[in-house]
């Protein structure tokens, strides 16, 4: 299962469409689009692992999208791009046109509200002209996989949100597509249900093994579901890796802040950082870090809240508990230190008291460094040992 994490959803739609048109394993293509006198880069990058990021800089503007669609249409070859559509250049119509080209892929999770559950599942198959016996067999099979057999006779109207979503999923599965393309399929569900559906999607994937491209802005969904994640912002790929790589070695400050709640602590060093050191001066305290492989004039130390340990005052970085929030299973403590505010995750057994003075230390092997100017991850012995699970163009 591959997954796109993209705070701006307008860029994700074309990703799905592109994959739909070109299949999962295509070549690397870069396109520059000339629109309105200036060059807007659009990257169509397809790597051998089958990741297909399609990126447009910023939001899709009218001119850009029709140019992209034209490009896609050319790639499809024999299927002519309808000229009247080009003349009207309406983005949605163009997208609709592309949607109709999707035969083997399923893009959107949607249901026909006026039809019953069985009709919803059968509809795509009837459209394909399948034999009655085959339709019945497939509907039964899908209903069983999704545990909605008992709902086959129901109307859609009375169904709970989760059941509705299962029917939508069923409509996708029943066609036995080569790939599932899902654009924020869980976005409309409430938090509790999203978690349950997330788990169900993962199980379904493990069973069907169908390649799935899943677009979301929810980091929890991304981290829980994906074999691979592509983090995008403003039309750029920031990092393409497995969840572990994204979590442990965020490629830049944006990713470090985007993934993880509360986000990674970023603390500025007093002195320039040199290569080959294993301790750094953090607000007047020497702190152990993985041996650096590059220097930086202004460096930030990154450490996740769960890798911050609270100890007796006098040991480590001096800190004072400014605020504590209770989450049942744990506390989040906000600590004032000479290097800035540090958030720490503390087990539920002991409550950190506001005003307490403590000494904090970090799990040294989990610390990463960033260059403040470029906002990029700085290499160290731990980052260099890590091989990204995929690369991107």
């Amino acid at each position: 299962m591959k997954l796109y994490c993209d705070p701006i959803s307008t860029t994700s739609r074309p990703v799905l469409l592109f994959i739909a048109e070109h299949g999962i394993a295509a070549e690397i293509v870069h396109v520059d689009l000339m629109t309105g006198g200036h060059m807007d880069p659009a990257y169509l990058a397809v790597n051998p692992n089958g990741i297909v990021p399609f990126l447009v800089d910023g939001d899709l503007k009218l001119g850009e999208s029709s140019a992209i669609l034209k490009y896609l249409a050319d790639k499809v070859g024999s299927r002519a791009y309808p000229t009247e559509l080009k003349a009207r250049a309406k983005v949605n119509e163009a997208l609709d046109w592309l949607n109709t080209q999707l035969h083997e892929y399923y893009c959107l999770m949607a249901v026909y509200p006026h039809m019953g559950v069985r009709d919803n599942l059968e509809f795509p198959l009837r459209n394909e002209g399948l034999a009655r016996a085959e339709i019945d067999r497939r509907v039964r099979e899908v209903a069983e996989i999704l545990r909605i057999e008992h709902l086959l006779g129901s109307r859609l109207g009375g169904l709970a949100g989760g059941d509705r979503q299962r029917v939508a999923l069923g409509r996708a599965i029943v066609r036995q597509p080569k790939a599932f393309l899902m654009d924020e399929p869980l976005g409309t569900l409430d938090a509790e249900f999203r978690e349950i559906m997330c788990l169900e999607l993962r199980k379904l994937h493990d069973r069907l093994k169908t390649t799935t491209v899943f677009v979301t802005h929810d980091q929890n969904e991304a981290m829980a579901l994906a074999d691979h994640i592509v983090v995008m912002n403003n039309g750029q790929i920031l990092q393409a890796d497995d969840p572990q790589g994204i979590y442990d070695f965020p490629s830049c400050i944006f990713v470090a802040k985007f993934i993880g709640r509360p986000p990674m602590n970023l603390l500025e060093l007093r002195e320039p950082l040199s290569a080959g050191v294993t301790t750094v001066d953090l607000g007047g305290t020497w702190v152990e870090v993985p041996c650096t492989l590059a220097g930086s004039d202004r460096a930030l130390l990154g450490v996740r809240p769960e890798h911050v340990r609270l100890g007796e005052p006098g040991g480590g970085l001096p800190a004072q508990v400014a605020r504590v929030e209770y989450f049942g299973s744990h506390w989040i403590a906000e600590l004032d230190t000479p290097a800035g505010v540090v958030k720490a995750l503390v087990g539920k057994a002991v409550k950190p008291q506001e005003g307490d003075r403590v000494g904090i230390s970090f799990d040294a092997q989990r610390v990463v460094m960033f260059d403040a100017a470029s906002e990029q991850l700085l290499p160290s012995v731990t980052t260099s040992r890590h091989q990204a699970s995929m690369s991107h163009g």
Binding site: L199, N220, F327
Partner: protein, 336 residues
């Protein structure tokens, strides 16, 4: 600021009893959260306090004075709703100033300006006072709505899911701010939510409400650590409480036990195979969560891990008896 006491409050709508014989004691200056699923009677309770609904039975006291028969306007409660109901044609300033200009109050204009400015500063919207309310983002609109409640300096604040229409990041931000505001002003807040994170992080005390009845009242830690019943234990906690089949514990526990609960962070997880192994279904580094399954039962484990586990991998889970919660057939806690 004031204390609020509800005695034997009952409210029926047609055949349905929304609130049944409700007793509540909200102390002066307390941040009190009503937590429950939809339909539990949270909003009705709030409206009864405000005087927007008349109870079928029971009485409301504010600072010890019976206000059951007092009109809503004279109870001096400020209401903040989920939907920031601002006046779209007015500027932010005028929206906040609106309650002060009511005929009942007659605050003079210099005083209004001073107070609006003060409130705007507390809420970090002082730069947006001249804007139309509709030109604001969702988070800013909700700040204005809170500002409009603050500016009156009411006796109590009644807040009905004020953060639930905001996106996750804004919700987090405004949550912290609400708590800070309540602390610095010493306001009495009665706050309704179905979001348990808001409940544990904001509340001095929580009342768990279900089907119009109070199930348990206590500090967040008391309710989380010492739930009196299964439904209360399941109301708090993310990931939710594991409820395990009683057969897994046979012979070693109270024979009246029908449900065994354990918090995800109390489950011990070790690598390895064995006669009682579990299969990993999901593992998330962000949520420090592992979901593992055995004979159709899913168990959630909260643990800070160095590496995510692979779906399908085998793990051993143990459930230390001292952390287990035992419940009888009616859902009542046995070892409390």
């Amino acid at each position: 600021m004031a204390s609020i006491t509800l005695q034997g409050m009952t409210k029926r709508f047609a055949q349905r009893t929304a609130v049944a014989d409700l007793q509540l004691d909200v102390k002066d200056g307390e941040f009190f959260v009503l937590l429950g699923p939809s339909g539990a009677g949270k909003t009705t309770t709030l409206r009864l306090v405000a005087g927007l609904e008349a109870p079928d039975a029971g009485r409301v006291f504010m600072d010890g004075v019976d206000v059951t028969a007092v009109a809503p306007a004279e109870r001096d409660c400020a209401f903040v709703f989920q939907q920031y109901s601002l006046y779209p044609h007015l500027s932010v300033f005028d929206n906040i100033a609106f309650p002060l200009r009511s005929r009942m109050r007659r605050v003079d204009e210099t005083e209004i300006r001073r107070r609006v400015r003060e409130v705007a500063e507390t809420l970090h919207i002082e730069g947006k006072l001249e804007r139309k309310a509709t030109a604001l983002s969702g988070g800013e609109m909700q700040r204005v709505a809170i500002g409009r409640a603050l500016v009156r300096r009411p006796k109590v604040f009644l807040m009905d899911e004020p953060l639930s229409s905001l996106d996750a990041r804004l919700r987090e931000e405004l949550r912290v701010e609400l708590k800070r505001l309540q602390r610095s002003t010493g306001a009495t807040v009665l706050y309704v939510t179905h979001d348990q994170v808001e409940a544990t992080t904001l509340a001095d005390r929580i009342a768990i409400l279900e089907e119009g009845r109070v199930q348990q009242v206590g500090t967040p830690v008391e309710i989380y650590d010492q739930p009196l019943a299964l439904n209360v234990a399941q109301r708090l906690g993310s990931p939710a409480l594991n409820v395990l089949p009683v057969e897994w514990f046979e012979g070693s526990i109270d024979p009246r036990t029908v449900h065994v609960g354990i918090r995800p962070e109390d489950v011990l997880l070790n690598a390895g195979n064995g006669p009682s192994h579990f299969d990993v279904v999901e593992s998330s580094l962000v949520k420090h969560l592992v979901v593992a399954e055995r004979s159709g039962v899913e168990v959630r484990v909260r643990k800070v891990m160095d590496h995510a586990l692979t779906p399908g991998e085998s793990v051993r889970l143990t459930f230390p008896a001292e952390h287990c919660l035992f419940f009888d057939a009616s859902g009542r806690r046995l070892n409390s």
